[in-house]
């Protein structure tokens, strides 16, 4: 006999947690769409954002409403720095080189965090409301619920920005055809910077949420592995794919964790990944590129 109420509760938690994956995946997809760079350091950028927030909110004891914008700005600066020093010099190099640079970047960020803040686990100051949330009969942990709400708000904001803001339109134009974007006068290198800045900012926001749910540590970057699975499943260049893939992977992880045991979580996501790659190698919503000689 299956316990439907339990299943509903688990699924709800999974989907709500998946909202975070969607947000982080969005950060990844923006960079990929605009610059064709697979940023494997997305988890580490998230971690850097969370630690920046920790510095502002806990060490400098700034109020939350000041600490969050400061973190977002600081992360944007970090994104710009990364783009200028590591990604820009490799324009036109084979994708694997750029990919490896982001691998190195991840390593550098982890090392820096350990040097500055040590490898110990830390807790972020509590700022999410703590009343339990009941949806029907199902209980939802308040942090996860509010995390999901913030994620949804930010996703909506990002989508609106890319729909209506000049810079967002320039970014979408560059993504769809680089040469054409150049010829209508879009400053493509600046768009590249913009994509990295935005991506770092979004990553920082999701880092703050992830950190306030589960605490922060220098191994937080593991979250990025699940994000990679999300974007591969959804399709590297698809915003819709990132959103749906995030919810889907969140659901799969929650179900595997509840019914099979915690050690099955990553296994389940990676089996989903392999299955999707075998059926649709370019992801569920990704563009199927046709190669020509």
């Amino acid at each position: 006999m299956m316990d439907w109420a339990y299943l509903f509760e688990i699924s709800l938690t999974g989907v709500a947690g998946g909202g975070l994956y969607s947000l982080a995946a969005l950060a990844f997809v923006i960079v990929y769409k605009a610059t064709r760079v697979v940023n494997i350091a997305i988890g580490e950028m998230l971690m850097a954002g969370a630690y920046l927030f920790f510095t502002f909110a806990a060490m400098f004891a700034l109020p939350i409403w000041l600490a969050i914008p400061a973190t977002v700005l600081g992360s944007g600066l970090l994104g710009a720095m990364i783009e200028r020093t590591m990604i820009r010099p490799l324009l036109g190099e084979p994708p694997i080189s750029v990919f490896m640079v982001t691998v190195g970047l991840g390593s550098v960020l982890v090392g820096l965090v350990e040097v500055i803040w040590t490898a110990d686990q830390r807790r972020l100051p509590e700022f999410l409301p703590a009343q339990p949330i009941m949806i029907g009969d199902a209980f939802l942990a308040p942090k996860i619920f509010w995390g999901a709400v913030i994620a949804v708000i930010f996703i909506a904001a990002v989508l609106l920005i890319f729909r209506f803001w000049r810079g967002g339109i320039a970014l979408r134009a560059t993504a769809s055809d680089q040469a054409a974007a150049y010829s209508v006068g879009i400053n493509v290198p600046r768009v590249f910077s913009l994509a990295w800045v935005f991506s770092a900012m979004i990553a920082a926001v999701s880092g703050i949420i992830v950190g306030s749910i589960g605490g922060i540590s220098s191994s937080m970057g593991v979250f990025g592995l699940s994000v990679l699975v999300v974007v591969i499943v959804g399709g590297l260049d698809s915003v819709l794919g990132a959103l749906i893939g995030g919810l889907f992977i969140g659901l799969v992880e929650a179900l595997a964790g509840a019914y099979l045991g915690g050690e099955y979580k990553l296994l389940a996501t990676f089996i989903v990944l392999v299955a999707v790659l075998l059926v649709r190698p370019y992801g569920l919503f990704g563009t199927h590129e046709i190669e020509r000689l």
């Binding site: 190099e93 694997i96 640079v101 090392g111 350990e114 490898a119």
Partner: protein
């Protein structure tokens, strides 16, 4: 192009070692490798064995990534397959080590073939991330199968050579280094054959290669198989060297290490794989020396591990930005400079 080496036949042109200088240096290097264990301390012998294992595995990855152009982040998983095979065979059946190593290689090769199947449809970085899946699935298997000893892993007896247990760094050196040299020679020769040329053609443009009549699936799988065979044998050596294997012995970070090694060394050259593996293994040790030299370094030792992580990342970034062809290219420049030395270069 080297000056002063006239070649009159194709055989001479395709020869692995083409000049007298090269042969002399090889003899010198060989002699040094033979003499090394008699003069070096235990610590240096330990390092030499570790370097040698890493060279073997990095060369395997170089076949796949450097020569065939298929990026893989699963090399450590295949090493794990080899290591577990060797550990299981050694402790349950007690078969001779040569057979165990071979079986370790073959099991890893089968694993590699399975992982390689999607490589026909999945390309580039999608493939790289698919191979991460392999590394998580093998980790799960090692931790949960009945005969792999769970999270505690397996500990194994030292390899024995006619009743002599190879239980010290000095003794196992004579197993590890020759096996690695043999594998290096094999890899170097591979790229003088039809198969190796096919790999290179696939790397340069796989669709063109197929148009030229190279069956893509067969050669991509072959490349995966060969590469993971190397990883499996290296993993087997690793098992004999550390004599305990656990699921945590072969993390994703190790796969990244090997990819970093061939990038730093120079992709697509045998020498690059060797130089990269030596360099990347030695840098953390050098860093330890530097930390020991700093006065009052006792309080700084907590920073050793994070600084290693940073240096590791900076090396990858630095080489990709400033020297994309790696150490092998630097070596070539140095060699060219000395070729006509002391005349103008």
């Amino acid at each position: 192009m080297r000056i002063g080496t006239l070649k009159e036949t194709y055989v001479a042109d395709a020869a692995l070692f083409d000049s007298r200088t090269q042969k002399i240096w090889l003899v010198v290097a060989g002699a040094l490798l033979v003499l090394f264990p008699f003069v070096a301390s235990d610590y240096w012998l330990y390092l030499a064995c570790l370097v040698s294992i890493n060279v073997a595995s990095a060369t395997g990855l170089n076949i796949l990534t450097g020569y065939t152009g298929l990026v893989s982040l699963g090399q450590a998983a295949f090493m794990g397959l080899g290591a577990y095979t060797v550990a299981t065979m050694e402790s349950t059946m007690g078969t001779p080590f040569a057979l165990n190593l071979l079986c370790g290689g073959v099991v890893a090769m089968i694993g590699g073939l399975v992982v390689g199947i999607p490589s026909l449809r999945v390309k580039g970085l999608y493939l790289a991330i698919a191979t991460i899946a392999a590394s998580f699935i093998t980790h799960f298997l090692f931790a949960n199968l009945s005969f792999t000893g769970g999270t505690g892993g397996l500990s194994i007896q030292p390899a024995s050579w006619f009743g002599l247990p190879l239980d010290t760094s000095f003794r196992i050196y004579w197993l590890i280094v020759p096996v690695t040299l043999l594998m290096l020679l094999g890899a170097a020769n591979l790229f003088r054959t039809r198969i190796g040329r096919a790999f290179i053609a696939i790397r340069d443009r796989d669709i063109s290669a197929e148009v030229l009549g190279i069956p893509l699936l067969r050669y991509k799988l072959l490349s995966f198989g060969l590469s993971s065979f190397y990883a499996g044998v290296a993993g087997g050596l690793w098992a004999y060297f550390f004599r305990v294997v656990t699921p945590e012995s072969f993390p994703l970070l190790m796969s990244i290490f090997f990819l970093a090694a061939i990038i730093v060394g120079g992709m697509g050259t045998i020498l690059g794989g060797v130089l990269g593996a030596v360099f990347m293994t030695m840098v953390p040790e050098l860093l330890k020396f530097v930390f020991d030299l700093i006065p009052g370094g006792a309080g700084l030792t907590v920073f050793l591990s994070p600084v290693r992580t940073i240096i590791f990342g900076l090396l990858i970034i630095g080489f990709l930005v400033f020297e994309p062809h790696g150490l092998a290219e630097i070596w070539r420049r140095v060699r060219r400079y000395f070729h006509l030395w002391p005349f103008r270069n």
